[in-house]
């Protein structure tokens, strides 16, 4: 759609601007303030420049957390995106009661408070009282997520797949719904294989929503806090201490405000940088 140039439109954006400034810029500036100062208590602060940033950038602990975080995000994206597309392709075609039931059930995990998701999986995978933990033990696997790092990872990844694949499914489903039936009929006449139907009709059509899905899943999994916190508390050891968990430990647990603030800023910048790439791709896709 062609848009007209109208500077007065700024007035309509103003309320949002004021509100978001209050809830975003003010706290952000506080963080910036902390990141360049040190304190010995008593509210006396003094300037330390970029010292905290250097410390954070060289911190072994944070490198490890970043590595774990990237690995986690990589794994869940690699599982959730293909699985989500696959499920969306297998959704019932004709509209009816069954489709509605499927949609509601699929959307359900998305509306469960995150700490409850954590709780659900905590009880579900405990070896003494949980169905999953108990069954795996009975099958002879040495599974105990509170002690074994691999088991903890397995639980967290399974939980995330359970929790968020639905989002990918719903997005792709919406994309697939928008394909006119004529496309499929044409494909049938050409005797196209189901793979080429997917490759040349469905995939290009859902590309736009797929980018949104990847963007949202990337952002949210990179900021994941509540669920692993409830299930494993970052353990065993530090095996599932992701960036957010580490950050909260540092800021609220140990009250190391300076390094925590510097850490926050770097963390935020990393997310923004990667998201910007996706966002640009999305805009370009829309403008075509």
């Amino acid at each position: 759609m062609k848009k007209t140039i109208n500077q007065k439109a700024w007035f309509m954006v103003l309320p949002v601007l004021l509100l978001v400034s209050f809830s975003a810029i003010v706290p952000l500036m506080t963080v910036v303030n902390y990141s360049v100062q040190d304190t010995f208590g008593n509210n006396e602060f003094f300037w330390v420049g970029l010292e905290w940033f250097e410390e954070v950038l060289h911190s072994e602990r944070i490198h490890q957390a970043l590595l774990r975080q990237s690995l986690f995000t990589g794994i869940i994206l690699a599982i959730e995106i293909p699985l989500g597309i696959f499920i969306a392709l297998n959704m019932p075609k004709e509209k009816g009661l069954w489709t509605s039931v499927c949609l509601v059930l699929i959307a359900l995990p998305l509306l469960i408070p995150w700490n409850v998701v954590g709780t659900i999986w905590q009880v579900f995978s405990r070896i003494d009282i949980g169905l999953l933990g108990h069954s795996l033990q009975a099958l002879g696997f040495d599974y105990n997520y509170t002690q074994d790092a691999d088991a903890a990872w397995f639980t967290i990844i399974l939980m995330d797949v359970w929790h968020w694949t639905s989002l990918v499914v719903l997005l792709c489903y919406a994309g697939l719904q928008s394909i006119p039936a004529a496309y499929y009929q044409a494909a049938e006449i050409d005797q196209a294989s189901s793979w080429s139907v997917f490759r040349y009709i469905e995939l290009p059509k859902i590309k736009g929503v797929l980018i949104i899905a990847i963007l949202l899943r990337f952002m949210d999994s990179f900021m994941i806090y509540t669920e692993p916190f409830v299930v494993t508390g970052g353990g065993p050891g530090n095996a599932t201490t992701f960036l957010s968990i580490d950050l909260v430990k540092m800021a609220i647990g140990q009250f190391d405000l300076g390094p925590a603030a510097a850490f926050s800023l770097i963390y935020f910048l990393v997310i923004m940088l990667i998201s910007w790439v996706f966002y640009t791709a999305m805009i370009r896709d829309e403008e075509q």
Partner: protein, 258 residues
């Protein structure tokens, strides 16, 4: 398909199953369904004020947040969908960037900000804090839906003598009603499921159900039955909301962009 739905439902079933057992049964026997149905856990939640207040508090701030977010997002989304102005694209990305900010980054500054203006432990503090990620999302969704409404409708309305507000209320709003519904749904959802900020910003008066749950775990040891029952009850509002928007849900998840 069926296998996937079973996979989704199994953990939820297990939670419901546990919520209907007594603690003793949970810990002593392993069974796929409750041996003797017990509604004791639910009774406890509905009679203990520290529990049911959690639900009331959560619902209050979630509703506040939804109203605030939509009120400010509507005009902004209209501006983004209709006009080009200096810095519009940057502004839009800046808004979105707030959606990307990890809540962990903001927890501590929020705590200090709201304490210093005397809003700590009030519903409005949580509602305002949640606008951080809900307003950008609402703007994004609404913009997508508004873009689908042809410009000609605006122009015809102005020629017919509608003022801007008359047009917005009488003609434009009904056209994007489903978009507003979907945006409200998303605000509801993300505010309802968020824990970190709501826990940091409240202590007693406005304590959310999520916070009540995590604190109970640490305080009274492990009362699995009650915990499970509380969990089941937090799913109920979500399930109700989904039921109402089920026909728009697919389009809504695509942010109005298909």
């Amino acid at each position: 398909m069926i296998a996937y739905i079973v996979f989704l439902m199994l953990p939820i079933y297990w939670l419901i199953n546990m919520s209907l057992k007594t603690n003793q049964e949970i810990l002593s026997t392993f069974s796929l369904w409750p041996q003797q149905l017990s509604f004791e856990n639910y009774r406890l939640i509905f009679t203990d004020s520290s529990w049911y207040n959690g639900y009331i508090n959560s619902i209050i701030y979630v509703l506040m947040n939804t109203v605030i977010s939509l009120t400010v997002a509507l005009p902004a989304a209209y501006a983004f969908s209709r006009y080009r102005f200096i810095g519009d694209k940057h502004l839009f990305f800046w808004l979105l960037s707030n959606r990307m900010a990890p809540p962990a980054v903001f927890a501590l500054p929020f705590f200090q900000l709201y304490s210093s203006v005397g809003l700590f432990d009030t519903h409005i503090a949580v509602a305002l804090a949640h606008t951080l990620f809900n307003v950008p999302l609402a703007v994004w969704i609404l913009e997508g839906f508004m873009r689908g409404v042809p410009r000609e409708i605006d122009e015809t309305a102005y020629i017919d003598g509608y003022g801007f507000f008359g047009f917005f209320r009488k003609i434009f709003m009904p056209l994007i009603a489903s978009g507003v519904g979907v945006a409200a749904f998303f605000c509801f959802m993300f505010s309802w499921v968020e824990l970190l900020l709501s826990r940091t910003l409240t202590s007693i008066e406005a304590k959310s159900i999520a916070a009540t749950m995590t604190r109970t775990v640490s305080a009274s040891g492990l009362d699995w039955g009650v915990l499970a029952a509380a969990g089941v009850l937090t799913i109920v509002p979500g399930a109700l909301v989904i039921y109402f928007v089920r026909n728009h849900i697919a389009k809504g998840f695509a942010l109005g962009r298909v």
